[in-house]
Amino acid sequence: MTFQIAWFILWGLLWAVYFMLDGFDLGAGMLYKFLGRDEAEKSAIRKAIGPVWDGNEVWLLTAGGATFAAFPAAYAAMFSYLYSALLIILFALIFRGVALEFRAKASSVAWGRSWDIALFLGSLLPALLFGVAFGNIFRGLPIDAQGYHGTLLGLLNPYGLWTGILFVLLFLVHGALWLALKTAGEMEARALRFARTGWFVLLAAAVIFLGWTVASTNLEENYLHRPYWLVVPLLAVASLLLIRVWAAQKKTGAAFFASCSTIVLVTFTGVIGLYPNLIPSRLDPASSLTAFNASSSPYTLKIMTIVAVVFVPIVIGYQVWVYRVFRHKIGAGEGTGGGAVPY
């Protein structure tokens, strides 16, 4: 029982950290063609995410792996029911990774242009579709005792799509702040300007999302039963407002920190509303997959808890250290940067 609750929280935390970390490099990937006006600026954007994107993406693999180990029935349901959406995410992530690694390895115009498109779509589609997937989970999937009754087009319902748009906007602002933090001069100013203007669109989308969530999901029920949990969505709203306040004061680091906490708190707003459901059913509450009916045995959860307690702090430790090594700003004229490979 305690292990199941602990793993439910950890499940939410892994997705939240994934969105927080990969969120900025997906955002930077979407902005790449628009904020990077020439080859030097584009190269600066790639270098701003180059050392860290791969490590960020592993949080997705860990979120997936932890779901598999701790909640196998939910893992099986989520991945097979959302087959087509996940397939598109998979192809998009493949192209994004390859684009980041291979873009600079040949110099023809067609080569550069193709990988630029791959990077853009490879960043946009996962952001949008993870939002769509979570929007549909918030809303509940059409599951009953006979199984799943949904289709790919069914996932693209207005609420699901709106959640996708919210994710895209969140990651755009988040990515712009990261780029403002990592670049200098004209590029930095442009990125910060984008974050400040884009923030108003994000705010509008977030307000609509909040109202829509109350109207068409059951997420608000947990909050009505236990109002003290409302502190999480309230903090999310406060974080969201602070992004704009700090961005206006050109405190880019603080604004980026606020967008990190916004993403984590928005994710947890959803996770708390879902509890104890991992995959709620829209047709029949008895068919919902929960932390209690979809979990692994107590023995496996205990083993996995030990693994998490030992390794997650170590991972956080060395990832923080590597972020510190690369905390410098990237000059637009830094040349090939001295990597083993031109980037």
């Binding site: 791969d54 860990t62 932890a66 493949i94 690369f326």
Partner: protein, 450 residues
């Protein structure tokens, strides 16, 4: 085709494609780490150039290994939901541990290695590539312990309508998994050694940067020879495990039909599964199969007929793959041995014929390693978890054939494109002389050589 056959085909295609990149990553990461360590010790810039040259090829290959690996983790849930549900309590743990203990290490420190030449000290930079090398090998260990459980399930009980873990230690110390791990990573080292020897041979034939490529060749020859011999040794241990726990696979590997003691190893045969015998059979080596499987000349070996037809793996592909693997393995030992001798005697440049052979031998180790996996995985059929769950019971119930056809076509197109890009870049950067970016190297050298 139905969802089951399509999903099996898709898993085979995506796993085999992923496994083009993994073995080179396993071996080349170690070689680059070793070369950069030499640079640290000697301060000789030739080793720096060498580390950068091989490092570039390593990274091209590594990128594709990473992105094609995500597919496999997703696919267990996407196409094999019933499998995941039934065995996730056991099988999910090693996968999650692989991500937590190995993938993070690998992907975080590869970023430090690529971008850190001017940011961290030489020592920390060398440490980064060692951590990458250790992490890739650690990741192989966890995935092969997961696979080892599918081959020889241990430490579980069937309860609550699924397999539940009861003994994590049994899973971690499953001998089957460790033997497969040794056999797999060592064959990855062989492949990397042949890759380095082949590319070095190309440059030596053109008298290009001879000291650098001679040194690369000699290092790889020694590494490849030791690894190739150990591959054979671990293959022997592997055969013992298969004989003990998967007798039907062993019989299929040998196309061996009638149970008997003192079983011979037949050098040439052609299976005739319909009539449960071999259509042709030449040159039996007396008692060799009994020796191989049980290390005893008179041991009894079970023939395929002893198993019900629906518990036998497809004989022909397993039989042929096994022959091909063993044949290539022996050839690779011989080639590495010749290279080692020639290297020690300083005769490499005077052996253009041998160097040409080595250039064209690169694909051989790739073929050997792929057919090796065909033996392991096709030989496990019809089981997905040996003796516990049939492959046919593991497929996702919610999928429609059209969905899997679409994804299979998608994978084929995307992976086909990636293969073209990969070969283009590997050839381009393999042919390029390390001199080409000398200025870049000196400018970015972490020490005072500039």
């Amino acid at each position: 085709m139905d969802v089951l056959s399509l999903s099996r085909l898709q898993f085979a295609v995506t796993a085999a494609f992923h496994f083009i990149f993994v073995p080179l990553t396993l071996g080349l990461s170690l070689l680059v780490a070793f070369i950069e360590t030499r640079y640290l010790r000697t301060n000789d810039t030739m080793y720096l150039k060498m580390a950068k040259f091989w490092g570039k090829l390593f990274l091209i290959n590594f990128a594709l290994g990473v992105v094609t690996g995500i597919t496999l983790e997703f696919q267990f849930g996407m196409n094999w939901a019933e499998y995941s549900r039934y065995v996730g309590d056991v099988f999910g743990a090693p996968l999650a541990i692989e991500a937590t203990a190995a993938f993070f290490l690998e992907s975080t420190f590869i970023g430090l290695w690529v971008f850190g030449w001017n940011r961290v000290s030489k020592k920390v930079h060398v440490l980064a590539i060692w951590l990458v090398a250790i992490a890739t090998n650690l990741s192989a260990l966890w995935i092969l312990l997961a696979n080892g459980w599918m081959q020889r399930p241990v430490g579980y009980v069937l309860r609550n309508g699924r397999a539940e873990m009861t003994d994590f230690g049994a899973l971690v110390f499953n001998r089957f998994g460790w033997v497969t791990f040794a056999h797999t990573v060592l064959s990855g080292y062989v492949l990397a050694a042949f890759f380095v020897m082949g590319v070095s041979a190309y440059h030596l034939l053109r008298k290009n940067e001879e000291p650098l490529f001679r040194s690369s060749f000699r290092t790889a020859a020694a590494f490849g020879l030791v690894s190739a011999v150990l591959v054979a040794a671990s293959g022997d241990l592997s055969a013992v495990q298969v004989a003990k726990y998967q007798p039907a696979k062993l019989a299929a590997m040998e196309s061996f039909w009638e149970t008997r003691s003192g079983a011979p190893f037949t050098l040439f045969a052609w299976p005739d599964s319909g009539n449960e015998r071999n259509a042709v059979e030449f040159l039996p080596v007396p008692k060799a199969l009994s020796l191989m499987a049980y290390h005893k000349g008179n041991a009894e070996v079970k023939g395929l007929i002893a198993f019900p037809r629906d518990e036998r793996p497809p004989v022909l592909p397993v039989f042929l793959s096994f022959r091909l693997m063993v044949g290539l393995g022996l050839l690779l030992i011989l080639l590495a041995f010749i290279g080692w001798i020639k290297g020690v005697r300083g005769r490499l440049e005077r052996s253009p014929g041998y160097l040409k052979v080595m250039l064209f031998s690169i694909p051989l180790s790739y073929i050997a390693i792929q057919v090796g996996w065909l033996v392991t995985e096709i030989g496990r059929q019809p089981w997905v978890v040996y003796g516990v769950m049939r492959t046919s019971a593991g497929v996702s119930a919610s999928l429609l054939p059209a969905q899997v056809i679409a994804s299979l076509v998608g994978f084929t197109l995307v992976y086909g494109l990636l293969a073209v890009v990969d070969i283009y870049l590997l050839v381009k950067y393999s042919k390029r002389s390390p001199d080409d970016d000398l200025s870049g190297i000196l400018k970015s050298a972490p020490a005072k050589e500039a």
